[in-house]
Amino acid sequence: MLSSLGSAGGKSAKPSFVSYVTPEEIKSEKEPSRKEKHPDLLPGEVVFCSASTVLKYTQDDLSQRGVFGALLCTNFRVSFVSDEAPTEETGQLFKNKLYGENDIPLSCVDNIYGGYEDKKKLITGGLVKNKYPSKMIIHCKDLRVFQFSLSFSKEEDAKKIFQGIVHHCLEPKSLRCLFAFSYCENTSYPEVQRKKQTVMFDSVEDWIQDMKRTKGNCRVVSENSNFELSPKLPQFFIVPSNVSDEDLTKYQGKGLPMWCWSHHSGCALFKTASIPLVQEDNVPQTYMEKMLTAVAHNHLYSVKTEDLSDTLPAVQDILLSYNKFKQFFLIDNTTEFWMSDMKWFSSLDNCGWLDIIRQCLQKAVEVVECLEKENTNVLIMEEGGSDLCCVVSSLVQLMLDPYYRTLLGFQSLVQKEWVAGGHAFLDRSNHLHLKDKAESQSPVFLLFLECVWQLQQQHGPAFQFSETYLTVLSDSVHVPVFTTFLFNNDSHRDNILRAESPHTQRSPLNCPTVWDWSVQFDCKAQDLFTNPLYSEKPKQDTSVRKSYRPKHLRQLSLPSSAFKTPPKKGFFKDEADNLKKILGVKRLSRWMLSPSSESPQTSSSVREFYEAWQTKPLDYHGLLLPCLDGPSIRVWMQRYLRWIHDVQILGGGPVAMLSKVSEILGEVQELQRQLDRHGCTLTSNHKGARPRAKTASVIAARSSVRLSSSFPFVTSRNWLFKPAIPTSLLQSLMVTGMAGNLADREDDGGGPESLV
């Protein structure tokens, strides 16, 4: 089942294309109006090659019909420009300003398949010299599938466009070739517009501010602002206060505990790139012990460490799993779709993607438990320290700190943990198709977004941003315009942007970050990024919080170790010696076992922690924990099913509820406005929780449009309002497979046959 879904394996014969006009007719028809068709090119965008009379199959119906138009390849995208006059409503609602529904940014191309008569072959680049397929199928990283027929174009054009697309999408290229650079040279963005903006963590102030916010008490390091300490370290970072200057430069930053977040009890979360320990050499071990002591020193001489390389899947496994998973959604035709529907759950299970999500969430809960319940410092580590460390540390902060569940807070979190944290976005996405980087490709950031989505769908009102926001963010990774996702770390970004600057010696090239959402979407569309049901924190609280931080309702009121053993004089020293002793014997004190050798103890401890939390009243501004049971971890429907016509719920889906809610909220606001006008003052706590009705206006404005479950990505088309009826090809197979003799029995036979 799976193999037929996925790879380029042979495909069963499909209904062949039925043209209602002969190619000759088309040609003669086209010839007079044949002028160069161009999409609206972006600044710095250049067309490489193009072909006309390309047929784009419309997936919207079963009949293998399509639209004719021109296919182009530019330095930014593959673009199909339809010969038909653009319909008014199409794409109006949630239009991306950079690329349209028939455009594929080059970095967004995942795989290209050639259709040779009945066979579908994966194109791997380089291979295609003379032959070109009659049909080209493009699978995109945002899960769109495009099918083009080249058989109506001039042979020469067809060959050129095919080879052009393959070349620009699949061949290795230099970073300089990415569109961002020619785009940014030709556009000017207002330098900084930082009022109420995302905290970028590119200045020492940002870091100090965040540490103050969480009442942390660590050492801010700004000595690396010009990457003098190490190019592998971020420009600015925070380490435990006991870390000395000379510690900073040892092992190029490896083993250095980087502060992530401080819990209100005083303990903190740190992450580090682990040092490979060589048996004979004792030096790294001594260093590691020193660092651990420094972490422990942060709060009550407590530290727990966790090597994520041992307990979570490797980045390669994450890629493998995701590659299997995504195939379920890259659907070439309806038959294939319904075939795969039969084994949907087990296929999903077997690819393991949901399980990886669960493992990451579980690990984060374990860390949260240490911070929240035991008030111990936690040091998470892995080789490199910038993949699963980023996933886990960001998740921990989302669960513990309501600030990161606001839109700006979330963006700041990504800046802090991922961008400044040195996640190798460029290598992990392999936009450059470098052969030697193929190994390092992995959707780690997407995995994080998946985990966030799980949290969000379990605790909707706790998040200010919407599901749509997460989906768009996951797409934006593949739009090679934003500095956010183009580099491997701070020094890499700094070097490149300086080198590419048109004005040498002056400021580095000014590129937008993904958080400049206006680059992609207008204000109205951006309204869909906020969750109308977000339960905003009542305003009065903010003034109080400074001096006194109330225990959140759902924070555990378990006795913290701080109160159990009041520190006495001399206690610290003993404890430190003791700790060293322990560490000297055991390399690291692991408190977790790997999931493969999962002890029932581990999961039951997490379960107890969850259950204890669950019995408390839920506070959307307090600690949030995900339920990790099988039925609770789900598929991110919006992201994965949005393009598949057969599963659109017309007039239904979450958006139906959302628009109703927005409508009600809009009415409420109107009423409130009227009340205000009549001088009826409402008490302040009502004002604090004023719902956002911006979304209301957006959706209300389009109430005439029939919404579907893939809103806002696909809006009403000329789809026939016909229900999708599952093809029942395989259904009879089930009978023999499962039901055995039961299936043959009479409903009310009344026979004496008995079944135990």
Binding site: W338, D341, M342, W344, F345, S346, D349, N350, H459, G460, P461, L533, S535, P538, R607, Y610, Q614, P617, L618, G630, P631, V635, D646, V647, I649, L650, G651, G652, P654, A656, M657, V661, I664, L665, V668, Q672, L675, H686, A689, S709, P723, A724, I725, P726, Q731, S732, M734, V735, M738, A739, L742, A743, R745, E746, D747, D748, G749, E753, S754, L755
Partner: protein, 596 residues
Amino acid sequence: MASASIPVYNSSNNPLENSSSHNASRESLKMELLADCSLLPGEERIIDKDIIYICPFSGALKGKVFITNYRLYFKSADADPAVTLDVPLGAIGRVEKMGGASSRGENSYGLDITCKDMRNLRFALKQEGHSRRDIFDILFKYAFPLSHGLLLFAYLSQEKFEENGWSVYKPMEEFRRQGLPNDKWRVTFINANYELCDTYPTILVVPFKATEEDLRKVCTFRSRGRIPVLSWIHRENQAVICRCSQPLVGMSGKRNKDDERYLDLIREANGTAKLTIYDARPSVNAVANKATGGGYEGDDAYQNAELVFLDIHNIHVMRESLKKLKDIVYPNVEESHWLSSLESTHWLEHIKLVISGAIQVADKISGGNSVVVHCSDGWDRTAQLTSLAMLMLDSHYRTLRGFQVLLEKEWISFGHKFANRIGHGDKNHADQDRSPIFVQFIDCVWQMTKQFPTAFEFNERLLVTILDHLFSCRFGTFLFNCESARDTNELRSKTVSLWSLVNSDLSFYQNPFYTPESNRVLYPVASMRHLELWVTYYIRWNPRIRQQSTMGLFTVHHGSLHSPPWVSSQSTMGLFTVPMGLFTVPMSNAQYYTET
């Protein structure tokens, strides 16, 4: 219910409770129990006993159980917060003794109770002195009253409600709403005394041109006399859904001219070129039925009809499927390979087939073609298909009262064999006639409400309440197999309807996001991608899952008698949440709804 929550019934606030207090003994402990659990009018205490409840979630709990003629109630003595169980005896499917007087090991001697609502209960007692004998006997007697010559509790209940639920469905009114009778369809009273068909209602709608004599002749050719009759008519295109049982074709391939002509009259009524007959069964089963005298409409006999098999399996397959599902969700949710385990129960696959069958029916009707739906006897799969298709086609059935009408009409009046399928008050737990067909239908409805969260006036709570009282025997609504049996047993005069309870407090069951849209056909997507396990129902006894999913319901401070025990969890304090669990609305926003 094994939970940390106690249904708070405060007797001092509720005058209704006084009626039951004369049953109470004066012992303080017993008084305390009564304060927790108010008895229904007509409910009587039978026995109470110190017992240990082996809770699968919190371990062995000492406490006290008491049994009335309606329920089993348990409250733990020392757990904090107290764990309570409140189980209507009707939900009990099987009571067994566990261990013997000489069994070793802690808590090895006691009772094992299998419930019809997806849970099992284990109690342990002291081994000395046959301590379980009396409780076992009493439980066995009162859980299965019909097997012991006793009345079902519905006949003992003295409950009074503002509304009389028995007046919810009036067949003539419903037909009139559909625009019937008209010049093509007439109402017949031929079955007024259940002479034509003892499992059909008294009022039937048939083609205008069919005479009473025709009906009698067709009757001989349809299994159990269940002739094709109209269930629903499309207002604009006049296409109809007719339902019936299988034709009695048999091995020899018998034909019946009257039946053939009768089906053609149905086709003719709105000028449909070809009548579509949906046989709900897999074709192999339809063929196999010939051996027992049944079968399906052959091509040559029914020239103007096309036959489509919908591949829905029989009651036995469904029963086993739900049993498998229970195995993977109770007491603990299968941990490794949850999705594969779920798939192997085939439960959602069956749901998919039922929904996709109904979609096909609804689609045909929308296209202006009349359809006839049957399975073998036309009271299980047929009821599922017609009622689901009607739910898709007619927005009236998506309202709170309209849904009650739909159930009364397609399920209750047309003789879905509730008594046999559920086994009300009957001790024979292995009865092969039992099957969760109605549960499956309610699951399908739930799937639709998930996909169209604003299209239904009622909320998930209504569906769960319906299923709870499907078993409870507190109301007469789901008792007996057919109308004739209900008449014989004077059901409507001697029992209370479930709709009395529901309609006396409609707001409790309302979906606040309901957006009425008449004339809109709802086509759910019958793909596994969109079908999900109804966690709030099937896994509701699991405290972890339950808590999460009660988020999907409103928290209303209901001290009333009827709030299902599992809803009264106090932990969602201050939350106002959306019924289908898609979004949750914080209280702060909810205030806007109520305070102006």
